[in-house]
């Protein structure tokens, strides 16, 4: 194990340079998120991930955010185990009818102020599963959404630039 640890000293750091905040995301947030909440939550956000019916593809890429290449925690963003500790709910999947209540209860268990980020095409509008008897629709059909990150699934860089928009101050929003 010592050898492996020493190698890290001589090798190049794997972590990618941070992408810039996504313009579309900044626009969506500027319209939705109020400055007071932004000030209270500050630049360190605790994220609670909720799978409301996804195929698990989005979860795999959200997991990747924590690997050495993307290293989400360097931005002050971290995943937490309970909605009670969270500032941000990150929701994936078309919301299935069987998850409808659980998502609502998770939302209600998250203290205010809070933001909701819907990840993936399914979370946007139900995606390819829209119209099924078992699907309620996109996340906004059940709880208010502040930011959508599209993709099937969005790759880690797309997730990162969407999330970084949450950290931008309102004055930095596009004119």
């Amino acid at each position: 194990m010592r050898r492996l640890l020493f190698q890290r000293v001589t090798r190049r750091v794997l972590t990618e340079t941070a992408p810039s905040a996504d313009d579309e995301a900044l626009k969506e947030l500027a319209a939705r998120v109020n400055a007071a909440a932004r000030q209270r939550l500050g630049r360190s956000l605790a994220i609670r991930e909720v799978d409301a019916g996804s195929c698990n593809g989005c979860e795999l890429e959200i997991h990747a955010l924590s690997n050495a290449f993307y290293d989400l925690e360097r931005f002050g963003l971290s995943f937490v185990a309970s909605p009670r500790h969270a500032d941000v709910l990150m929701v994936t999947g078309p919301v299935t009818k069987n998850m409808h209540e659980a998502l609502e209860r998770t939302y209600n268990a998250t203290p205010d102020p809070k933001w909701v980020v819907a990840v993936g095409n399914c979370a946007f509008d139900g995606g390819m599963f829209a119209g099924s008897y078992a699907v309620a629709g996109g996340v906004s059909a059940v709880i208010p959404v502040d930011l959508h990150i599209r993709g099937c699934p969005p790759n880690p860089m797309a997730l990162l630039s969407g999330l970084l928009a949450l950290l931008e101050s309102p004055s930095a929003s596009p004119k």
Partner: protein
């Protein structure tokens, strides 16, 4: 035994490549007897309009044989399989939930996927009633409800633990939270849309589902994909297997709070996904497989990217397994934890690393070999202990085998077309593909216009989830995450 059962029924003419026969209730009962005494293995059980289908695997035949028995149920009732063969119980509950067909004498009539939220239910008002968990009696027992929203970044499901102090007396699962109605969305869908839905049945097995669906359609239509496509599919399948096994290896160690292996496995997994993206244009290779072949040829620098990633994994993996093997605190957590008895693995026909870590020597790439695996050389690692450590061990050995397969596939990649023409006509077909988790089964009936009349997708998790309940018994609660991660069953693939 399977051949005799099929012979007693009325053969369906256009079902490919394995036989399907319409049988009477008596033959059905004989088949259930065969399952109960271990002569046959349950491979699938699903509903249709007024019919139930039972897919059987005969492992005593050489090569292994598969067949489907179909029982028409004009009065909506069929003899229960689960009453004498428990692996069928959840499948039967699903058949009632989705089709309203009643398994007579079934041991468990509770709803399974139906949580009473769909607006209509075969259970009537009963589906909305609080779910009745199995009673557990005894002194000093307490219950711990977990989920559906879990603490980690994982899929939703509910686990009801009954514990005596730290020790688990019983775990009961309740699944169905991510039921999206995939099979109903497929009915009437074009081949293209159905292939996309199949790829998104379980996101970590997009390739396995893609292959199984495409091969089932090709069997139904009697067409053969070009050799180049067959090799490219296998290349994707092995990359998917490597990426998932690496992820699991790291995540299991992480659940024992041993994060260094998680970090290093995460790097290797990322390299694999980047190579997949460079070669096929999508990190998880979703929608890269289509009936008739593959959606697009491998990109110009794709082979080089895959070779580079494979070389990196081959170079670094031994150091990681060495740390795993020589860290006593980690071994203390994984050895003798969550033991799956070989007899139980056999009874449930547990596929994938779960079966192979408990002595079940079965891999569809070999036992029911499909191209190109019949022309490639690889070993199927099998060990006996059945604990968390054994399931890690099998994963590592399978990564090594997959790396060798990647080499062989790239070295012998045939030239020519990557997609054959797909005619629009009717037919019935079924196919299997060995995903990282085990055997994915897809059964499809095409209408005469080439759209989907009925498609059934059976995830290997159906036969693995119940075993997780069995292995955590008598383990401590704190070891449940390790047991669970070492199984890594699919929620979405199971809930459909």
């Amino acid at each position: 035994m399977l051949g005799a059962l099929i012979a007693k029924g009325q053969r369906v003419a256009d079902h490919q490549p394995w036989p399907r026969a319409i049988v009477t209730a008596d033959v059905w009962r004989d088949a259930v007897g065969g399952l109960a005494d271990g002569a046959l293995s349950l491979f699938g059980l699903w509903g249709d309009e007024g019919t139930v289908h039972l897919c059987l695997l005969d492992e005593s035949a050489d090569p292994n044989a598969i067949g489907v028995l179909s029982l028409p149920c004009p009065d909506g009732v069929f003899p229960s399989v689960g009453v004498s063969h428990p692996p069928a119980i959840r499948l039967e509950r699903t058949i009632f939930d989705l089709f309203g067909l009643v398994p007579s004498d079934a041991p468990d009539a509770r709803p399974w996927l139906d949580h009473g939220r769909w607006g209509e239910s075969h259970h009537g008002d009963g589906a909305r009633a609080p779910y009745r968990f199995l009673p557990v009696d005894g002194e000093d027992l307490h219950q711990i409800p977990v989920g559906p929203v879990h603490a980690g970044i994982i899929e939703p499901g509910h686990f009801r633990f009954t514990a005596s102090g730290e020790t688990v007396a019983r775990l009961e699962q309740r699944l169905g939270y991510v039921h999206k109605g995939i099979e109903s969305l497929m009915t009437g869908a074009s081949l293209e849309r159905a292939a996309t839905l199949a790829c998104h049945t379980s996101g970590d097995s997009a390739v396995a589902y893609g292959i199984a669906f495409a091969r089932a359609v090709e069997a139904a239509l009697g067409i053969t994909p070009p050799p180049r496509a067959v090799y490219l599919r296998a290349l994707m399948a092995e990359l998917e297997r490597i990426a998932n096994h690496l992820g699991d290896f790291g995540a299991i160690c992480n659940d024992a709070s041993f994060t260094i292996l998680h970090a290093h496995c995460g790097v290797l997994r990322e390299r694999t996904l980047r190579a997949a993206s460079a070669a096929f244009g999508h990190r998880l290779m979703m929608d890269c497989i289509a009936p008739g072949g593959v959606a697009a040829d491998i990109r110009a620098d794709g082979s080089e990217a895959v070779r580079a990633a494979a070389g990196e994994i081959r170079r670094l993996l031994p150091a990681l397994t060495e740390i795993y093997d020589n860290t006593a605190s980690l071994q203390n957590r994984t050895l003798t934890t969550g033991v799956l008895q070989p007899a139980l693995a056999r009874r449930f026909a547990a596929g994938g690393f779960i079966g192979r870590a408990s002595g079940r020597n079965f891999d569809t790439r070999r036992n029911l070999a499909y191209p190109p695996y019949d022309a490639l050389s690889f070993a199927v690692p099998v060990v006996e202990p059945g604990d968390v450590d054994a399931r890690v061990d099998i994963r590592v050995r399978e990564i090594e085998q997959s790396l060798s397969l990647v080499d062989q596939l790239l070295a012998n990649l045939p030239g020519g077309q990557f997609r054959a023409n797909v005619p629009l006509r009717g037919g019935e077909g079924m196919a299997l593909a060995e995903g990282f988790r085990g055997d994915v089964l897809v059964w499809v009936r095409l209408g005469t216009d080439g759209t989907i009349a009925r498609c059934h997708l059976r995830d290997p998790s159906w036969f693995q989830w119940p075993l997780l309940e069995a292995v955590v018994e008598s383990n401590i609660i704190a070891d449940f995450p390790l047991c669970n991660k070492s199984f890594n069953c699919s929620y979405s693939g199971h809930d459909l």
